[in-house]
């Protein structure tokens, strides 16, 4: 177990966590402002990835692909909000779960219809591929480093948007008291559409960015969606800070657990058993983390105390 491997895995975990943050931020924003649980957030991630793969295949430009992912997911998000989601705000959580589950079915099968069942591939552009040498002589893929930097920049931008701008003030006011901000003359339904489109756009970008290191296929959004749920449960629903810390915690636990748990078990038992038990445990590690945090703090690390 060398130092280099440790640094590499920590960076991988960080990269995974930052991408999860992009998903979780949208989810937690939508829940915080509109009180909506949106299972279809994974579909928006998938739509972003498909839009990026299609545009990259057509134009060959990675920048255009990212722009297309953002635009496609945000536009689809806005349309879905106007047609369906809007009718769900005053319904109970069960209805929200089912309606957004129905949306997943429609989006997944619709995408399969359009693009077929085979995965698409989104290539990393030349200027971002290849390894980069970090201080200390560690080789690390440039693209993954790029993901960390871009993700952190988006997180900072989002933080600035929410704390510094007028829209941000309206969003925070909407979280606290939606009747009052409507009474103050702010068009609440426009704000809701905007927040939903913002969350959708973040998911779309995440889908496109991750799509370049994994395959772009139907159903790619749901595993990420569920991890994003774990993130906001850990961080506390509605808390942006919680989403960031939760995401990094989950990313690190998942990545490091997969590497180090089997190694750790090898100290106690024979290698074959250690590998099999270790990998089983590692696949459960983030859920064990979630369970432990919930026992300690039932509303998450930064959630409002009830």
């Amino acid at each position: 177990m060398s130092f280099i491997l440790l640094v590499e895995q920590v960076l991988n975990g960080l990269q995974f966590g930052i991408m999860l943050f992009l998903m979780a931020a949208g989810l937690t924003l939508i829940f915080g402002v509109m009180g909506l649980i949106n299972l279809a957030h994974g579909s928006l991630y998938m739509i972003g990835a498909f839009a990026a793969a299609a545009v990259a295949g057509y134009t060959g430009s990675f920048v255009l692909a990212l722009a297309a992912a953002l635009a496609a997911a945000a536009i689809v998000g806005a349309i879905v909000e106007l047609v369906v989601i809007r009718r769900l705000y005053d319904k109970d959580h069960l209805d929200q779960v089912l309606a957004t589950f129905a949306l997943i079915l429609i989006f997944s099968e619709g995408t399969r219809w359009l693009f077929g069942s085979f995965p698409l591939f989104l290539d990393i552009p030349d200027y971002l591929s290849g390894p980069v040498t970090l201080p200390g002589g560690i080789q690390y893929p440039l693209y993954r480093l790029f993901l960390i930097v871009v993700g952190l920049l988006i997180a900072i931008g989002l933080g600035a948007l929410i704390t510094k701008t007028r829209i941000g003030i309206q969003i925070r006011a909407g979280e606290n008291d939606r009747e009052m901000i409507a009474a103050l003359g702010i068009d609440i339904s426009r704000l809701y559409t905007l927040v939903f489109a913002l969350g959708a756009g973040l998911a779309g970008i995440a889908g496109a960015l991750v799509g370049a290191i994994q395959s772009v296929q139907v159903g790619m959004g749901e595993p990420v969606l569920i991890l994003a749920f774990v993130v906001i449960v850990i961080g506390g629903i509605g808390s942006m800070k919680g989403a960031l810390i939760g995401a990094i915690l989950v990313g690190l636990t998942d990545t490091l657990g997969g590497i180090f748990l089997p190694e750790l078990l090898k100290l106690f038992t024979d290698p074959a058993t250690a590998t099999s038990i270790g990998s089983s445990l590692a696949s459960m590690a983030i859920y064990i983390l979630m369970g432990a945090i919930l026992i300690w703090r039932p509303t998450g690390l930064f959630g409002a105390r009830s």
Binding site: F31, K91, I104, I106, W113, V230, I232, V233, S279, P298
Partner: protein
């Protein structure tokens, strides 16, 4: 408008008439379809105890469905390979006997429900939905990495398990067994909803504070409902695995949890026969629409969306003209 009572009788009649016709017309596939519907109905009747009576929106009931499935798979696997399941501290052999498998499935899923329910019920609302979903994923990934029992590929069982006095290889006999269990569980649920426990549970869902003031513990009531609910869904899982003679991590997948919930919504929440009607409609759609288009889930999605947005009360609610279930 038709009274719900007659509608329930009509739904139940379908479960007798269609297989009888299929037997006469020599259409074993129809019997298999009806078996599938009966098992899905059983799983959903289980979830409905937590969801309809207890108000617990569990998006992780595939955990119990899967545990039931794997209980059957693992026991039958050891029986067909003649290897003991466990040698230390005492020997446990595999078995092909359905009653033993069912009991194992019920006990194990009840234990899992106790643990998951105990942890999840520290929270409520959206947290509860997300946590049950996350527990589902935990079991899903565990089953994928559990290579001793097939991992991602699942486990195949060569011959359907035995039930004393029946030839379960005959589709109609296995169907009869499933239908008998479904009817027994429906009767049990009906009694449960009207028992002191059911009434207290109903109250705990609506106004937990009042239940607390009369000296009952609403969380404990809900936990018991969750355990019963999980046990029934687990039994359905064992039957489902036996129907297919195959278990795989798909039984643990979150889509499975979603589908079990969809059966209830299509039929109608908190109605005794809601899940039964929903499972019947689902299997019907799956068969007929699935035959027309590979993308039939789009239509299911649209139907579901319409029911949620405009038709509260599901199929039974629409036909019987009653928005809300009573009692």
């Amino acid at each position: 408008m038709i009274a719900e009572r007659y509608l329930n009788a009509a739904i139940l009649a379908i479960f007798f008439i269609v297989p009888a016709w299929a037997l006469w017309a020599n259409e074993p596939f129809t019997i298999t379809l009806m078996t599938r519907a009966a098992i899905f109905a059983l799983a959903a009747v289980g979830l409905n105890i937590a969801l309809g009576l207890g108000g617990l929106v569990s998006l992780g009931h595939a955990v119990f469905f899967g545990i039931g499935g794997y209980a059957m798979g693992i026991l039958a696997f050891h029986a067909q390979t003649v290897t003991p399941l466990m040698e230390w501290p005492f020997v446990i052999e595999g078995t092909k006997s359905m009653p033993v498998i069912w009991l194992t499935a019920i006990v194990l899923s009840a234990l899992a429900a106790l643990l998951i329910g105990h942890l999840s019920m520290r929270t409520s609302g959206v947290y509860f939905i997300m946590i049950t979903l996350a527990f589902g994923q935990m079991f899903f990934f565990f089953s994928i990495s559990w290579s001793a029992y097939g991992g991602e590929d699942g486990l195949s069982i060569w011959v359907r398990n035995d039930f004393p006095g029946l030839n379960t290889l005959q589709p109609i006999q296995f169907y009869g067994l499933c239908l008998a269990i479904l009817c027994a569980v429906l009767w049990f649920t009906h009694r449960l909803a009207r028992s002191p426990f059911g009434l207290a549970l109903n109250a705990a869902r609506q106004v937990p504070q009042r239940v607390e003031t009369v000296g009952l513990n609403p969380t404990r009531l809900k936990l018991v409902a969750f355990v019963i609910s999980g046990a029934i869904t687990g039994l359905a899982g064992a039957l489902f695995a036996d129907l297919n003679r195959f278990v795989s991590p798909t039984m643990f997948s979150w889509q499975m949890s979603g589908e079990i919930m969809v059966f209830i919504i299509i039929g109608g929440v908190a109605r005794l026969f809601g899940p039964v009607a929903g499972a019947l409609v689902f299997v019907g759609l799956e068969h007929f629409l699935g035959g027309l288009s590979d993308y039939w889930l789009v239509y299911l999605g649209l139907l579901l969306l319409l029911i949620v947005l405009f038709g509260r009360g599901g199929v039974i609610g629409i036909v019987s003209g009653r928005e809300k279930a009573h009692g």
